[in-house]
Amino acid sequence: MPTTTIAGQAVEVNDEGFLTRPDQWSDDLGTELARLIGIELTADHWKLVRFLRDDFAHQGETATLRRVSTQTGTPIKSLFDLFPGKPAKKMAYVAGLPKPKGCV
């Protein structure tokens, strides 16, 4: 796995730039990862990122868009507003988690 330096931290990433070791993530890293995809994190963003981190710790896999929506009570439309275009992928990226599978 290639190693790169983000927010002054050496982290392992895959070929799409996703962190491969969720334990290497930190708040600072989240802020920087968001900035790299043009998003400034607000309290609304952080609520979702924290949910994703927490859910991953319990479930062992990244929550799907629908799961984020139902579990946090956030309409899917709002998720698209906060993380434009590909919210599921972008949320996972910022939270330092693998892309959600949800689909086999």
């Binding site: 629908r66 434009p84 689909c103 086999v104």
Partner: protein, 415 residues
């Protein structure tokens, strides 16, 4: 010595439920185990046949039989709607007030299309210009619509993953291309494939191969499309990020969800699927509950082949479990799907939890080696022959000679 009679209740008499009761009835002594299977009606459909109905490639009577005719002697079939499962009392209550007590419970209630979950999908044009082929009625209605189709934009659309038989929408697009060609309408038609995924399919290697096939057939691919609503009046589907795709005939795969009783019983996730151990199909929370077929969260395709392979592993385990022994079998997520690609050809995908769909050949007993991930005439013939295998060998629980575990013989690992 007296043995206590125990009861196994199976909810759902579809592919997984029918196989499991038939197999277990032959393996569990009737003096020790009572087996009951519950379903809402007495109609068993060969669901892979739905794909062919709209194109007139199969007749309605070839896909439908009665459930009771497929269930072996010594198994009680109860017809009724499940209200809820009380896992503490080990009781299933039916909507008509009946109660079934169980020692062990198998949930095999599958997954169903839920057009009610997308605004505007149901409405005056449902089963007309807004078609679907994931139900018997829908597939027949679509046969009418396609017979009257005189050219225009045909849009094949997947609402959200996971869906059962994830290759079926692609197959539909391939067969539609063929159908329109044969009727001299292809030049006057556009086919668009709209998916919430970032490519043609979920698995990268297969996605690449299937993506090429779409391009070869002149089918346009619209990716990352999460539908927000259907506008039946303007004949467009609208995504959350406000993109629109116009259609003359829409063929949609509605959101798929597990049974409502799963939600009422507090057993499911946000799509009513029951979390299980992916190797034993045993509920992670309730040890007396097992989940087979499409109703669980196992991370592989929701497909008949998975139901088949996982039932075989489950049956061997359950016989051990019933004797008080440790369970020694483990499911590897093996899935095996024929992909009808039009022009009398098909591809074959073979994969499991850890391995991507492979190229090479697949040693299918009786029919000979099948080409993997590449179109061939033999694969198409294999797909058609499977209907007979399903009714006459698979459901009765006769051995097929196909190992449940995926084998690497003859296969070339993907680069």
């Amino acid at each position: 010595m007296t043995t206590t009679m125990r009861t196994l209740v199976v909810l759902g008499a579809g592919t997984a439920g029918t196989m499991v009761v038939n197999k277990l009835r032959h393996r569990l002594p009737t003096s020790e185990w009572r087996i009951t299977v519950v379903d809402k009606d007495d109609l068993h459909d060969y669901q892979p046949g739905y794909l062919f109905l709209p194109f007139g490639l199969i007749e309605p009577e070839q896909v439908r039989r009665t459930r009771h005719g497929l269930i072996t002697e010594g198994v009680e079939l109860v017809l009724g709607d499940v209200d809820r499962v009380d896992q503490q009392a080990r009781e299933v209550s039916l909507l008509d007030g009946r109660t079934l007590v169980y020692d062990e419970l198998v949930i095999a209630s599958g997954t169903s299309p839920r057009p009610d979950q997308t605004p505007g999908m149901l409405g005056a044009e449902w089963h007309r210009s807004v078609g679907e082929f994931y139900t018997y009625d829908g597939a027949l209605a679509l046969r009418e619509s396609l017979a009257g189709f005189s050219g225009g934009r045909l849009v094949v659309h997947v609402t959200e993953m996971p869906i059962k038989c994830p290759v079926a929408p692609l197959e539909f697009a391939f067969l539609a291309d063929d159908f329109l060609r044969r009727r001299g309408l292809r030049d006057r038609s556009e086919i668009v494939y709209v998916t919430p995924l970032d490519g043609a399919f979920t698995k990268p290697v297969a996605s690449r191969e299937l993506g090429h096939l779409l391009a070869d057939k002149g089918i346009t691919l619209e990716t990352d499309f999460m539908v927000e609503h259907v506008d039946q009046e303007r004949r467009v589907i609208v995504s959350y990020d406000e993109r629109e795709v116009a259609y003359d005939q829409l063929v949609t795969i509605p959101l798929n969800m597990g049974a409502d009783f799963v939600a009422r019983s507090g057993l499911g996730d946000e799509l009513n699927y029951v979390p299980v151990d992916k190797h034993t199909m045993r509920s992670t929370e309730h040890p007396a509950i097992w989940v087979l077929g499409d109703a669980s969260t196992i991370p592989t395709s929701k497909a008949g082949s998975v139901a088949h392979f996982s039932v075989e592993v489950f049956v061997d385990n359950f016989v051990e479990h019933a004797r008080g022994q440790a369970m020694t079998h483990s499911f590897d997520g093996h899935a095996n799907c024929f992909v009808e690609s039009g022009g009398g050809k098909a591809m074959l995908l073979d994969f499991n939890y850890d391995t991507e769909p492979l190229t090479g050949t697949f040693p299918l007993p009786h029919l000979g080696p099948m080409t993997l991930l590449k179109e061939s005439r033999a694969n198409h013939v294999g797909k058609l022959a499977f209907r007979h295998i399903y009714w006459n060998l698979l459901l009765p629980g006769r051995p097929l000679g196909l190992p449940a575990q995926m084998s690497m013989a003859g296969k070339v690992p993907a680069a």
